[in-house]
């Protein structure tokens, strides 16, 4: 339709576009409303089924064994252990109990520490900052081996669902465990869901959007030139609708679920987790710690009975599940999409796009398959990820928090810049990492290419073939091998240094200081990356006509002069894209950092991308925070590329002039 009216006046066609877009927008919203309605029903059904609640009950069971799920848990645990040691001098030993979290997502499967330390290390505080704390790692390994040899038995969680008369659907979870001495202890969790649901107020928001669009369309029709005014009205209407919805806390209180649960822990021995003379004071501390340790998840009122082999903790949590928020995840992008489509049509761009589509159909047909694939599997996840950065994830529930994540990142949660967890510290390390790598890659690659291009050099094909070998080897293999080579005891690097007499027999502990760990990463990545630059430089050098050199030679230009005035300027256009791409790859080089230094010491050598990964999968499943972190990485890279591509264009145009 728009295609036929290509010749129509500009204002007229844009009004028509606005009308079409209006209908499309309304259709999208209506369809979205249907989807949401259906989903809401499904959620309600599932919840009444008790399935959603099951996860919570399981969570409670785990939490009740003194949660050490994430580094925060470990931190609290270590603080607690210190306290216990001070108040109870008779402490004998503290065992590590670990359990494996089973999850369909393999990267989320992991063990959890319930308690840690051993008596020989009394007085040595655990380092709570690092998940990969060496000692914790050793403890864990010990336990895992113990489990394997059958010394510890990770008892299966038994679960029962039944209707309790007068109360409703009830879930009982029993987790049984056996410790090293053969004492069995069990954790019972009994929980009853209480569900209040209120439908999500989709209608007011949708109405606001539709209303805004209608006004805009009317304006576009009546006064095609006053687009600015009508756009303002549209935005104002939508903003008011959204404000109304948010202000009324609709999203937050749309569905509320309370859980009443009681937790009981029993043991056949005096030692449940801690082998220590019964101390009620300690138990009080334990209870306090549990209540602080479970913040956000539970609001417990703890009653503790005297310790005589049975530790009873009754928790009366008011655990809210905000159903509305999970729908906001769908709702907000949908409304945004509708608005975008609308704006697209209303500004007359859609009409132009349709006619372009018809005119250049061949070009679009050729690009469509690749474009479609990218849209589905690259752009859609990306958009989803950006959306995720405005949410907070906790125990399977996402709640909308606006820009809180970004604020926390940019203010580094008040950490000083010298703290490796500070965003700015990591940013500086990342910049240093990228710059050092790119400089080394380019200079080594270029130097080798200059040597190898010499026409009189024999066996250059052999050298070339052998020198690109590092590129061909999978980089995770490279990373692990180099990690081994940097091993303090067995590594080849220390052996080499010792045989050269540079270090003593103890060798260098490569991963215990920032400078050496960073060097180890750098060496690995340089080994990995120079072949690419060498090949690019070789190709670029081949394309420089040799007559230029001949002429320069005749003019009496020296070797350095020829390099400065012929080689470098002619190489620039070929090297620039490679350098940009190389720096982006290095900036996001996950495998090397993660596998070689693993962020040691204490996360100091982590770069932004590994830090984001740790926030997502190693520090309490903070998916939203990690997504925000990744978004910041993306913005930094985008800014970098925009600046450098402007530079490239400038050099290229100056090249063409000469």
């Amino acid at each position: 339709m728009t295609v036929d009216n290509r010749s129509a006046g500009n204002g007229n066609s844009s009004a028509r576009g606005a009308l079409i877009a209006f209908f499309i927008g309304v259709t999208v919203i209506t369809a979205g409303a249907g989807v949401i309605e259906k989903r809401q029903e499904a959620i309600r059904a599932a919840e009444l089924d008790g399935r959603c609640f099951l996860a919570q009950a399981r969570g409670l069971a785990r939490a009740s064994v003194l949660a050490g799920y994430d580094e925060l848990g470990i931190k609290r645990l270590s603080a607690l252990l210190e306290k216990v040691k001070k108040t109870s001098p008779g402490i004998l030993s503290i065992n590590v109990i670990s359990e494996t979290k089973d999850d369909p997502l393999p990267f989320r499967r992991r063990e959890r520490f319930i308690a840690s330390t051993d008596s020989s290390r009394t007085g040595v505080p655990l380092d709570p900052r690092s998940y990969s704390d060496k000692r914790l790692h050793d403890e864990r390994t010990k336990v895992v081996f113990g489990l394997k040899r059958g010394r510890h038995q990770p008892g299966p969680a038994l679960m029962k669902e039944y209707d309790e008369p007068g109360i409703g659907k009830t879930i009982e979870v029993v987790v049984a465990r056996k410790d090293a001495a053969g004492h069995v202890f069990t954790v019972h969790v009994k929980a009853t869901p209480v569900l209040h649901t209120r439908p999500v107020p989709f209608m007011p928001l949708a109405a606001a959007v539709v209303f805004g669009m209608a006004i805009f369309t009317a304006f576009a029709w009546a006064a095609p030139r006053a687009r600015g005014v009508s756009a303002f009205i549209l935005i104002a209407a939508v903003a008011m609708g959204a404000w109304y919805a948010v202000l009324n806390d609709y999203f937050a209180s749309a569905g509320k679920m309370e859980a009443r649960a009681s937790i009981r822990m029993e043991s056949t021995a005096q030692s449940i987790i801690f082998t220590l003379p019964g101390s009620n004071r300690y138990l009080q501390g334990l209870a306090e710690d549990m209540s602080t340790g479970l913040d956000g998840r539970l609001d417990p009122h703890l009653n503790i009975s005297p310790f005589n082999g049975v530790l009873k903790v009754n928790v009366e949590p008011e655990n809210r599940r905000e159903i509305g928020n999970s729908q906001a995840v769908i709702l907000l992008p949908l409304l945004l999409l509708a608005l975008l489509i609308y704006a697209w049509g209303a500004t007359g761009r859609a009409g132009r796009a349709f006619s372009a589509l018809a005119k250049h159909s061949a070009a679009y047909a050729y690009t469509a398959p690749a474009g479609l694939g990218m849209l589905m599997l690259v752009l859609a996840p990306f958009a989803f990820g950006i959306g995720l950065s405005f949410f907070r994830h906790s125990g399977g529930t996402f709640s909308f928090v606006g820009i809180t994540n970004f604020r926390d990142i940019l203010l580094s949660e008040n950490r000083p810049i010298t703290n490796p967890l500070s965003f700015y510290f990591t940013l500086l390390v990342t910049i240093l990492w990228t710059a050092a790598n790119v400089v080394l890659h380019v200079s080594i690659g270029l130097a080798l290419a200059l040597i190898l291009k010499s026409p009189f050099l024999r066996m250059k094909a052999v050298y070339r073939v052998l020198l690109i070998l590092p590129w061909a080897i999978p980089n995770y293999v490279t990373a692990l091998i180099w990690k081994g080579m940097f091993n303090q005891q067995f590594g080849a690097i220390n052996a080499l240094l010792a045989s050269l007499g540079l270090t003593g027999p103890d060798g260098v502990a490569w991963f215990s200081s920032f400078a050496t760990a960073f060097t180890a990463n750098l060496v690995t990545n340089t080994w990995l990356g120079f072949p690419f630059m060498m090949v690019v430089s070789l190709g670029a050098l081949q394309s420089i006509p040799s007559e230029l050199y001949e002429a320069a030679k005749v003019d009496g230009a020296g070797r350095w002069r020829r390099f400065r005035s012929i080689t470098l300027p002619l190489l620039k256009p070929a090297l620039f894209p490679a350098v940009i791409l190389g720096s982006i790859w290095t900036f996001n080089q996950f495998n090397i950092i993660y596998l070689v230094s693993g962020g040691e010491p204490s996360g100091a050598t982590d770069i932004l991308i590994t830090e984001a990964y740790r926030w997502a999968f190693e520090r309490g499943d903070r998916y939203g925070y990690a997504a925000a972190y990744s978004s910041v990485i993306f913005v930094i890279l985008l800014a970098y590329t925009l600046v450098t591509s402007r530079l490239t264009r400038a050099t290229q145009s100056s090249m063409q002039k000469t």
């Binding site: 990218m374 690259v378 859609a380 045989s499």
Partner: protein, 284 residues
């Protein structure tokens, strides 16, 4: 540069430097070989990269590893990897060639933006994509399926391939096509019978990169493939050096087996690598 007799000393120095550098480069590789040929699973290695008592036990262990039903697991993993890498290569080359051709030869609205968008996707941090991708794959029923992995890999390989191929197509003179068009050839015919054969070196490199992306990738494969019989080789090999136990010998043997196809391909295509990779970027 130094062809005369005066240059012999200089030549010697050049060769000395190159040999030293090559040995340094190959040293870690030799180490892997030594690990794989040493019977133990430990990491006690000295400076000497030559294995003292070579044995093929590690390779034997790997190749004869069986699942509960007595089927060879290693064979299964190899088939998985081959299928995924093969499909990725086919899909990646096909999609990248058509798109690059359009970007090189047609002038259409959105061309610049499309090219820019392809470049921008290179900046998406992988951690941001992992969870959404998992959800999407789950919805499409592609988890634990080789096709799903191949689709993801080919889309991740596309941007780089498109840029490379587009650059190469740009260097092919337009006169050839114009002549064919006058003779009445269709756009597709020109693309198929003229452009593709002329762009062979670049296509070979594209294929190599697509293949490598799929063959070497680890994190996504570990995320999407939870069943042992659906593992690809990198995931399988990685499992030999997990947090609980490390079998360096098996790991090294596996690494070598995984690397061989890529290395062979690299060497077979290395001539094209230089021309294919840079012909485009020289022109920008």
């Amino acid at each position: 540069m130094a062809g005369s007799g005066r240059g012999i000393g200089k030549k010697f120095v050049t060769h000395l430097f190159l040999v030293a550098f090559t040995v340094a480069t190959l040293y870690p590789v030799m180490w892997v070989v030594k690990l794989s040929l040493t019977g133990t699973q430990g990491f006690t290695l000295s400076l000497n990269p030559i294995p003292e008592e070579p044995t093929l036990d590690n390779f034997k262990d790997l190749l004869t590893k069986q699942d509960r039903n007595g089927k060879s697991l290693f064979l299964r993993w190899t088939i998985n990897s081959t299928l995924v890498a093969g499909t990725t290569t086919l899909l990646g080359v096909l999609l990248a060639c058509t798109a690059a051709y359009a970007f090189s030869r047609f002038r259409f609205p959105g061309r610049e933006k499309g090219l820019m968008a392809f470049l921008v996707t290179q900046m998406f941090p992988g951690t941001l994509m992992m969870i959404p991708l998992y959800v999407i794959m789950d919805r499409l029923g592609l988890l634990n399926r080789l096709l799903g992995l191949a689709l993801v890999y080919s889309t991740t390989a596309i941007p780089f391939c498109v840029w490379m191929l587009k650059g190469y197509f740009d260097t092919i003179p337009r006169e050839l096509e114009d002549a064919a068009r006058i003779d009445g050839a269709s756009t597709f015919r020109i693309f198929w019978t003229i452009m593709l054969p002329l762009a062979k070196p670049a296509i070979a490199v594209t294929a190599l990169f697509s293949f490598m992306t799929a063959w070497n990738e680890f994190i996504l494969a570990a995320t999407f493939m939870s069943k042992e019989e659906m593992y690809t080789l990198p995931v399988a090999i990685q499992s030999y050096v997990s947090a609980y136990h490390t079998e360096w010998g098996h790991f090294a043997a596996g690494s070598i087996l995984v690397s061989i196809p890529v290395v062979v391909l690299f060497f077979a295509l290395q001539k094209n690598l230089v021309s294919g990779l840079t012909a485009g970027s020289v022109k920008g």
